[in-house]
Amino acid sequence: MTGDYNVCAEAQPESLNLLHELLQRAAGEHPDLSPADLMLFETAVIEIAGNVVEHGRPTGEVTWQFHLEVRPEQLLGRLSDNGEAYEGDLSSGVMPDVMAETGRGLAMAHLALDGLSYERAENVNHWVMSRIRH
């Protein structure tokens, strides 16, 4: 069973709830989706979206769009935002020291996903996240 879901919003902390709600809706309509897969995918999506909320510039002017595809073999998410280009190193998802208070988001997303990529095209940032279903 496949399914497509979309949501768009301003990149504000409160709008992360829309992503939770979208994923809950997808789970409700796909009872065959493993709770563990959904939980890890949701964790990664919220970290990537949280990164856009926190670091997206110009502050207060960024909007994002999220598209979810529930495929028989995988979960595929694409988060697109109109903020400035992401300057960080996507491959630097190293888990910081246990006593660090920040810097875990990208590392958590890497661990929770099977694929994570970033590209900048036509002034839009695209984050593509995938997790193979188990």
């Binding site: 939980m39 964790t43 919220i46 949280g50 926190e54 920040t102 988001g105 958590m108």
Partner: protein
């Protein structure tokens, strides 16, 4: 997320219900700071009704752990549901934030 504080003996129990995310994390952190400032440096964060935690929430827990320890106390967590437990393992934070089954269990040796 809703936060509720209860003082039990020499411990403060902070109960978080809902999502401990970038909206809620600063509120938890502020409550921990205020609780320590009020003289309660032994804190249990009860996560029984926490449906989701993100890296901001983890940061608030670690920040709270440091503040309580600097004041001679400790911060422990209780009742962590599966998503919280999984995220603690992913980030290796289960080494410093061991989850107790209940707040009463967490405060047993205080």
């Amino acid at each position: 997320m809703e936060l509720e504080k209860t003082i039990v003996g020499n411990a403060a129990i902070l109960s978080c219900s809902g999502r401990l995310n970038m909206v809620a994390a600063p509120k938890l952190r502020a409550m921990v700071d205020q609780t320590v400032a009020d003289g309660h440096a032994r804190i249990v964060v009860d996560l029984t009704d926490t449906s989701f935690v993100d890296s901001s929430g983890l940061g608030a827990l670690i920040g709270g752990l440091k503040v309580t320890r600097q004041a001679g106390g400790d911060l422990r967590i209780a009742g962590a549901p599966e998503q919280v437990t999984t995220v603690l393992q992913l980030t290796n934070l289960d080494r410093v934030l061991k989850s107790h089954s209940t707040p009463a269990d967490a405060t047993r040796d205080w």
